[in-house]
Amino acid sequence: MTTLIGEGLQPSEFAVTAARAVADCAALGPREQAKHLANDGLLGVIASEEVGGLNLPLAFAVPVVAAASSGLLSFPLMEVLLLSRALKEALPRAAGAVVSGDMLATIAWQGSVSAEREGESIVLDGCVARAAGVRDADTLLVRLNTGGAVLMPTDSEGVVIEDAAGLDLTVPDHAVRLQGVAVPAASVVPENAWSVLCSDANVLRAAAILGSAETCLAMAQEHASTRRQFGRALSYNQALRHSLARQKLALEGIRHALTRSVGDEAGALERDAVFLAAAAYGCAISEGALQVHGGMGFTWDVPVHRHLRRVRALQAQGNASEVLAGLGRRTVAAIAPASDIAVRA
């Protein structure tokens, strides 16, 4: 809400609330988590006031998603935040239910399905995947191969949710098969809302990676300072000091690129760049943190691997390789051959 910004509200102020709420959620099931997060106003941070949200800019979702990732929140918070905004025009009631925590919703990030119109319904067929936390969700947003997306109840006839695949243990993702699933035609979210959602998702994935990477580096730093070998703390060794310094450089790169990606002049370039930087640096930081822990890093008990799994899952979820090649392709396409430049100069 503009008045909040007018009063000088800063995105960073949400970090503390979010961290506390995430800690409180540790022992709760998904439905209680949704209610708890909703009560703290966190599910509607970027949703419009008409659907019960705070109508704040995307920058305010960044610390919330980072805190969720840092605390290994087992709830698809990024998806819920994005849906709270994306559903507003086409499905305002669903958006409201998402913001209030009454409806658990998520998104299938990979694949698309075909849609056949049958009267007031459309019938969906196909297979989608990378649906975070869909086992517990009431509804799932599925990409249509004709453009746009559709919000579909997960208990519809013809929906088969497969066992969790992928590395992420925190918010497990699933493949979902749809065979003749009929949903109301009014459940379709238009293409422009889907593309805004995907663009916002690049920023929030980077925020999630920042939260995990920050935690990994803090753990590595702590371990290097307290673990003693050869009569000294590990951090005495220059090889480890330099490795941690490189992780710090990478971490600040993600943080600064995030600030830039939500600035007034930011567009698709800045959003692609922040996701790609976060994906590359986030892997380096979490893998590096694991290495600093030595054998301990390879154990189940040290949570570095959970963050590493999450970062790798987010990298795949955002399809980093294709985004990277696409960024290069657009850069090349936008530049005229040298002879033309000479004429222009």
């Binding site: 730093q221 290097a224 300072s225 003693r228 000294r232 703390a233 590990l234 951090s235 005495y236 060794n237 220059q238 000091r241 330099h242 941690l244 310094a245 490189r246 710090k248 450089l249 600040e252 790169g253 600064h256 690129a257 600030t259 830039r260 370039l269 800045e270 760049a273 922040v274 790609l276 930087a277 590359a280 390789s321 985004v323 990277l324 090649a325 696409g326 960024l327 290069g328 392709r329 850069t331 090349v332 530049i335 005229a336 051959p337 040298a338 002879s339 033309d340 430049i341 000479a342 100069a345």
Partner: protein, 403 residues
């Protein structure tokens, strides 16, 4: 003859222009005044002579594009750091020669502003901006490269005069400079970081000898400088011993974060030039459309965007009155390594050009081979990569030394 068109308005930024209007005025001025022969992406490029560079940089100053943030009282333009950023974005967007007086403008000048007397500020600063005095930096020595505490050049007080004896090395541009910012020891070597003092030494003073060193790019841009009992007036001492150097360290921290602020935008100019050259060549046009190279180009774009983010964050922090501390090391480490990666990619691509080589490819090869070689120095000067990593570990992460 520089080709600088004096019929063009001498001032890019007259009046009270700000924001977008300020940017547009600078862009127009640069495009109207930068000679094609100065642009390394142009067929007309010919490395400018010293005199041409001096005239060009004096014209930049008159146009409001040097000393941007320096106080008007000392010849500066009194603008904000954010305006400095805008100007640098526009300067970076064009392939322009590097300043022959960057030590004066980005090192000596800010140090004099911080620790100089009023008389020194009036005497030294306008001369730097008007390009009457070119400065070089006399910090490194044969026995004190990264470790300035090992400095041996000695300054001895003799009434109103200091006598300086010693040797400096890696002194870029000493052969063309009028003044050298000399760091010297006033006490015994055991004092390490204590007792260091700074002086503005005239290079035509008796007892100064300059010997150029040929560098890997076939140029003689850096030098050894020998000081044999050189007399320096007290009025050319910058701050008292200790005090001057301590203040200089704070200035250097800011400089590391803000110097050559145009760098990421110049980097972007280099990428545009590389792609434009590749697209004009049949074999290279195919290569840059190959997914493998698309991804590599994507990585360069990400590197540039991250660098911009580091720079803009530093400017915001400084504009908000925050201390920059050791954070300048982050940007320095990132750009120096990113630029080397890019230069290697440029060589790799251009080496696969069609035969016979088109002029556009030859122009690009000339530029990027020079950039590749010069970029080897970027992870060495202004604090090597290893020094930056050490600074980040010590001062940002504050890692225990492990006793």
């Amino acid at each position: 003859m520089t080709g600088i068109d004096t019929a063009q308005p001498a001032t890019a930024t007259a009046g009270e222009l700000s924001g977008e209007a300020y940017r547009v005025a600078i862009r127009r001025w640069l495009r109207a005044n930068l000679p094609a022969s100065f642009r390394s992406d142009s067929a007309a490029f010919a490395s400018p002579s010293l005199q041409q560079s001096i005239e060009w940089e004096a014209a930049l100053y008159r146009a409001g594009l040097a000393g941007i943030t320096w106080p008007k009282a000392y010849g500066g333009h009194g603008r904000t750091l954010r305006e400095h950023l805008i100007a640098n974005q526009e300067i970076g967007a064009l392939a322009m020669p590097e300043s022959v007086n960057s030590i004066g403008k980005e090192l000596a000048g800010p140090i004099i502003l911080a620790v100089g007397t009023e008389e020194q500020k009036h005497r030294f600063l306008p001369a730097i901006l008007e390009m009457r005095d070119i400065w070089c930096q006399g910090f490194s020595e044969p026995e004190a490269g990264s470790d300035l505490a090992g400095l041996r050049t000695r300054a001895t007080r003799d009434g109103d005069i200091w006598r300086i004896t010693g040797q400096k090395i890696w002194t870029s541009g000493a052969y063309r400079a009028q003044r050298c910012l000399v760091l010297a020891r006033t006490g015994p070597l055991e004092d390490r970081h204590r007792g260091l003092a700074m002086f503005a030494v005239r290079l035509d003073a008796k007892g100064v000898r300059v010997r150029p060193i040929k560098s890997i790019d076939d140029r003689e841009s850096f030098c050894e400088v020998f000081f044999d009992d050189v007399e320096v007036l007290q009025s050319d001492a910058l701050g008292a011993p200790d005090e001057g150097w301590n203040a200089a360290i704070r200035v250097l921290e800011i400089e590391r974060a803000t110097n050559r602020m145009y760098r990421s935008w110049r980097f972007e100019n280099e990428l545009r030039h590389l792609i434009a050259a590749c697209k004009s060549d049949p074999a290279l046009a195919q290569l840059v459309a190959n997914p493998r190279y698309e991804a590599k180009i994507g990585e360069v774009v990400v590197d540039i965007e991250v660098l911009k983010a580091h720079v803009e964050t530093a400017v915001d922090a400084l504009a908000n009155g925050d201390k920059i501390g050791a954070r300048g090391s982050l940007a320095k480490l990132h750009w120096s390594e990113a630029h080397q990666r890019f230069a290697a990619l440029a060589l790799e691509l251009l080496s696969q050009a069609s035969l016979p080589q088109l002029p556009a490819v030859q122009i690009a090869r000339r530029r990027f081979e020079a950039i590749y070689l010069q970029a080897r120095a970027e992870t060495i000067y202004a604090g090597t990569t290893e020094i930056q990593l050490g600074i980040i570990a010590d001062r940002i992460l504050q890692l225990s030394k492990g006793k």
